[in-house]
């Protein structure tokens, strides 16, 4: 079993590892729809009951919610546990990054035999003081000139001596090549390194990992991390570079993760947004677009989205005002909170289309001039909007 956890990127990374395994002709199952709580994982194994009876080498690539790691490791000792990153998330549930880390570690402590594949650029994951073998991946190159951490980023203070970290470079949020000039704690040595970013486009990225070039068929820096994480797990499992190369090149987006839907000739991309770090990355990815676009933001506050919508004030929507935007559609349960956030961020209110119903939203989208539409939606907003599109015949498969 390979267990994938962390705040952002679990679903995409899990899907990438699964594809790499099946492209390597291995037998593999996965909870690929993102049902990552205890019940969802049990259901995945029940569904695949016959798989367990089949002979030969078998893999289960399982995405697990941070607080549920311990329920899995109580029963199973995974071959590999991988942690993507830690960001402030839905604060009404787990709250702080240190609480989230603690929950993950409670799970890891029950599995001392598991190999850990960890994001080395995540300062919270270095020197864990555990008996497990730990392998790190990270960026060995800067994406831009950024060495100064944003005042609002997470985990800025040395976890050992509370001094502010310094950075040779930052990739995004608090991820990067960090060091503490007081106690000497620094980014661990990397076994798998991203050596070069050749090109970033709105459709994908060309990168160099451990000396070889790969095209990642999903865009954005955060997806380079997902690919690097999947690559590292695949190499630890002994998979060949060719299969990894093919998998990344043809990687399909998971549902609601950069999924592309055709609505009356318009290319509609749906991007799931859950927390400030992920939302900032989504905005950076949308910003790679050079054409005029339409933007749809959908904010819900159901349990799975987080009941507290305060987090939108930590997202840098100000960056959107640099883009060539035709219309800004706002929808979801907390649409007025979102509209207010965008107004304060300096987006022109006269371009706002605040839609209380999906019918109205769909009508608005179909009447725009530009053919490119980006939908940034929280979890339950994404699910319900997809259901709506399904009922209108725009999406064939719900899952």
């Amino acid at each position: 079993m390979i267990l994938v956890t962390g705040t952002n990127g679990k679903t995409t990374t899990t899907s990438m590892i699964q594809t790499m395994l099946s492209d390597s002709k291995k037998k593999v199952i996965s909870n690929s729809t993102g049902a990552n709580m205890y019940a969802g994982i049990v259901a995945c194994f029940v569904d695949n009951y016959s798989f367990s009876k089949s002979g030969g080498e078998k893999y289960a690539v399982i995405e697990v919610d941070e607080a549920n790691v311990k329920f899995i490791t109580e029963i199973i000792s995974p071959k590999i546990i991988t942690v993507t990153n830690l960001f402030r998330d839905q604060l009404d549930r787990y709250g702080e990054v240190y609480t989230t880390l603690k929950k993950i570690l409670e799970g890891v402590e029950q599995a001392p035999e598991s190999k850990l594949v960890l994001n080395g650029d995540e300062s919270l994951l270095g020197d864990l003081g555990l008996p497990n073998e730990a392998v790190y991946f990270g960026f060995d190159t800067a994406i831009d000139q950024n060495t100064k951490i944003d005042i609002n980023a997470d985990a800025k203070f040395c976890k050992k001596c509370k001094t502010p970290y310094k950075y040779y470079y930052l990739t995004y949020n608090h991820l990067g090549k960090f060091y503490c000039d007081v106690c000497g704690y620094e980014r661990p040595a990397l076994r798998y390194s991203l050596d070069k970013v050749v090109e970033l486009t709105p459709d994908g990225s060309m990168v160099e990992i451990n000396g070889n070039q790969y095209y990642i068929n999903v865009p954005g820096t955060y997806n380079i991390y997902n690919a690097l994480c999947a690559f590292s797990v695949a190499k630890e499992l002994g998979l060949e570079n060719e299969a990894i190369f093919d998998s990344l090149k043809s990687q399909k987006s998971s549902f609601g993760r950069q999924e592309i839907i055709d609505i009356d000739g318009k290319t509609v991309k749906i991007i799931l947004v859950k927390n400030p770090a992920g939302y900032d990355q989504a905005i950076s990815t949308v910003s790679l677009e050079t054409d005029k676009i339409n933007l749809v933001t959908m904010l819900n506050d159901n349990y799975a989205d987080g009941r507290d919508v305060s987090w939108i004030w930590d997202v840098k929507f100000e960056k959107l005002s640099e883009l060539d935007i035709e219309k800004v559609f706002v929808s979801g349960i907390r649409l007025y909170d979102m509209a207010l956030r965008l107004k304060i961020a300096g987006l022109p209110v006269e371009k706002f289309m605040i839609s209380e119903s999906y019918e109205e939203l769909l009508k608005g989208i179909s009447q725009t001039e530009s053919d490119k539409v980006y939908v940034l939606a929280t979890y339950t907003a994404m699910i319900s909007f997809r259901k709506f599109l399904n009922s209108k015949g725009y999406i064939k498969e719900l899952w």
């Binding site: 005042i151 203070f157 305060s310």
Partner: protein
């Protein structure tokens, strides 16, 4: 004579440490609403090791943080800023303290582990730890201003303000301690509350009150702020009020 352009100096205390729950929205709102009226806004980020000069600022914002970061703040505050902050508050200048910042201004607070930590002891209230966390949308009513405020609370501390004036009476939610029906605390022009949400975007009356009070204190003259189009603000606020009233 040409009218002199007014200016507001806002101090954001420990923005790098006390910055969870979107409290940055309060600063962004003060800036937005001031600039719409042609008022210049300067924001100073004051953190560990920086000195705090009470004369330099017109509005101070003091937010809440994660436990790890709050422990770093606590010692720096009492070492370098306690007296200056006390002077600022006593002079009647505008300060907004939220959640952790609120608790730190009082006599003491106890952690969930039972440890009793001294506060700055500037204001006469204290905070005990509770067994459960108060999490959810909140609505309160301020009888003096005849205004309703909405927000989102998320705290395990139970604050007891004694005979001090609250920010409002709880209409929905838990408030300071879940017992006495009050939320927050007002002392002179220092406003304390547990409201995230963020507080000021959806409560523009309160944001304007801070701006007006700060300007009048600074320029010694009555200031009338021109009204802004707050349709979106009011709809966002009304949504919370309606939903919470339906729950009853």
């Amino acid at each position: 004579m040409e009218k002199v352009k007014m200016e507001l100096n806002i101090c954001h205390l420990y923005p790098d440490l006390l910055n969870v729950y979107g409290d940055l929205g309060n600063i962004l709102t003060l800036k937005y609403r001031s600039e719409k009226r042609g008022i210049n806004v300067n924001i100073s980020n004051i953190s560990i090791g920086d000195s705090f000069d009470p004369k330099e600022y017109d509005i101070v914002f003091f937010g809440g943080g994660q436990d790890y970061e709050q422990s770093i703040v606590s010692s720096d505050l009492s070492e370098t800023k306690k007296f200056a902050l006390s002077e600022y508050i006593e002079e009647g200048k505008v300060l907004l303290a939220i959640c952790g910042g609120y608790q730190l201004l009082g006599k003491y607070y106890t952690t969930p582990e039972g440890e009793k930590l001294p506060g700055l002891d500037i204001l006469d209230f204290y905070t005990e730890s509770g067994n459960t966390r108060f999490i959810g949308n909140t609505v309160i009513y301020n009888e003096d201003f005849k205004e309703t405020y909405v927000g989102f609370e998320n705290h395990s501390g139970r604050t007891h303000i004694g005979s001090m004036k609250p920010l409002g009476k709880v209409v929905a939610g838990h408030g300071n301690n879940g017992e006495d029906g009050y939320e927050g605390c007002i002392y002179k022009n220092t406003y304390c509350t547990y409201f995230h949400g963020s507080l000021l975007p959806k409560n523009p009356e309160l944001a304007d009150r801070f701006i007006k009070t700060a300007l009048e204190g600074k320029y010694g003259d009555t200031v009338n702020l021109e009204p802004l189009d707050d349709e979106i603000e009011h709809k966002a606020k009304e949504f919370v009020i309606q939903r919470e009233s339906k729950k009853k």
